[in-house]
Symmetry: none
Subunit: 204 residues, 4 copies
């Protein structure tokens, strides 16, 4: 039996508010987002937000907690799956990352940080230390594995891992910004990513 509507809503409130807030941040950014619009999106009164979050800044902070948490709840296990040749595993992992990042709700976070991150140094640090580091660690791990298998050029580890990750970020930014002007064909883009990076970092 489902619970009564009322109590179900009560428990869901905080997350509903965050969802509404993120939707608004995505639409107009943090500064331009108004509590009124957020409340309207959540279908509640303006003042009700303050029952759950002390102020607008607490909202964005909680939004980061929630989305980063969600992002990592499902991540991490993808790496170990395959154990085939580097190119194959790399392709798998990139597909995973593109899906999780470019198409994810968490992309708003990046947008907010790029735009207004200086006002929220803790959020910058948190995002860097979790989301970005996680992606970089995954990729580094993958490279090390490929290196151990003798598939990669030995000097590869000497370069900045962000180079390997950069097409993902471009796709993410592009998705947020220029998608409507000039859409990216993601599947084909991933092929290119694998091809350009692999055929450069593989020994031969």
């Amino acid at each position: 039996m489902p619970q009564a509507k009322r109590s179900r809503r009560k428990e869901a409130r905080p997350e509903e508010i965050i969802d509404a807030a993120l939707a608004e941040f995505a639409a107009v950014g943090y500064s331009a987002a108004s509590m009124a619009q957020i409340a309207a999106r959540a279908g509640i009164a303006r003042s009700t937000i303050y029952l759950y979050y002390a102020d607008k800044e607490a909202l964005i902070s909680a939004a980061f907690d929630l989305r980063l948490g969600q992002a990592f709840a499902a991540a991490g296990q993808g790496v170990a799956l395959s154990s085939g040749p580097f190119r194959e595993v790399f392709h798998e992992m990139l597909t995973l990352l593109y899906t999780r990042i470019v198409k994810s709700d968490a992309l708003v976070l990046l947008k907010v940080l790029v735009a207004e991150g200086r006002q929220f140094p803790q959020l910058l640090t948190r995002y860097h230390d979790t989301a970005l580091n996680a992606a970089m660690t995954m990729l580094t791990g993958l490279l090390k594995q490929g290196l151990a298998r003798g598939e990669l050029r030995p000097d590869v580890m000497g370069y900045d891992i962000k180079l390997v990750m950069s097409p993902i970020m471009l796709a993410a930014i592009w998705h947020l910004t220029f998608q409507e002007l000039e859409p990216i064909d993601l599947a084909h883009y991933i092929e290119g990513h694998v091809s350009f990076i692999c055929d450069g970092i593989l020994t031969r």
Copy 2:
């Protein structure tokens, strides 16, 4: 004979104001930027801004005009210079692009677009059609040249040119956002960019 103090300022004013505005946009974003702060940065009264720009939106629009104009005033000629092997010309061009983009004042424009571009579709289009297209055209031209010389894999042109450009954008975004948390060693980063991309797209 130099002109009188007053008229000298008058000529310089518009640019001074744009500079101040861009500095403020860089610091807090467009929405959060206040005319008061911009005026303070420019060392003038709030209302003086309105002598030169009709409103806040005219300010950002003019800022785009100025910075995009400046960016292209000095660009373009670098390509034809070298005619050595692809790797060398590519390295030269990347060095040029990184300098012109990552370290440029025009980077704020990208930041504003990522954050609040939906409010300014014309600016989005303008930036896409000029800055981004210019960079992509330069890179495409370079690849075609390399292809003509037989230095590149023939299938290279089939992939999205943005892949070649992506490390630049990551560096740009990073510079804006995470530079203080984890700085990028740009010279070394460029080496990696050349190495990763070239050793993948060159025939062998």
Copy 3:
């Protein structure tokens, strides 16, 4: 049982604000009226006004609605009352009109229209079509009645009814403007109005 204090105020607010606004318009005109002063008169914060009226123009529009409505809620029935000789009925009606118009709060509306009506063509039209037309219709009806009774010169209807109404408007304008310099003795003025008009339009 009376309602709680808060909700009582809420119901009264809109009208309180209109009252304050009209008082301010009466004092300094529409353009020169400041929302701050209106709020002060109403004993509320500036921003509270915006809970009830979208902007300053909405305020004057609502003020017209309210005052014209009030003016007509009590009007109209006075005509049918008497059925004595024309002079008597005319006197009764004028007394009614003078009271309702010259001493009314709605006089501010006329003042605003004279002064700044070009900025509000709809208000001009509304006032003309309701207030003025109503007065003119009442007077025209009265004349027709007198004509039917054979008390009036037959050519009377050929002239502009506004001539009959004009002493009322002069009194109204005077009341707004020169009352303190040179007050009008209204009762005596009405006598004169009746005398001058009647002894001119009656057959004999």
Copy 4:
């Protein structure tokens, strides 16, 4: 020989400015009139106005001086002209007054006074004491003359002279305000004025 253009303009400046100011007052009222618009109308720089008038209030004060002066330069002599029957002289004088008042530039003054006169008590007084009193004096004189000739009812002087003047004021106000909604046929209106008043105040 006409003087040089420059010096002619110089002498004409003050009056040109007043003309521009009155035109602007007529259009939007005193408060809403901007010095910028007035200067634009006069074809000079904003600051040039201050060479001739200390501030905005001095402008309206000077405007009153000029217009009232002009109005009276040409007035007053019309009364003595005719010495025919009252009705004829009255008609002549009314025609004069309607032309001088309703179609005059000085009508703006009345408009400003109705709208914002409370801010300028001196102007109210001046206008009342000159323009209005002059008109009332002229009419009173005419009535006295008619009375002396035995053409008028003896009790006429007991009533407020403003009653005789009121159709003029209605026409003036109407002209300013509702002319476009419902124009007045002035010639016919004057006929009515004469007819209604005369046939009321004449003995028979």
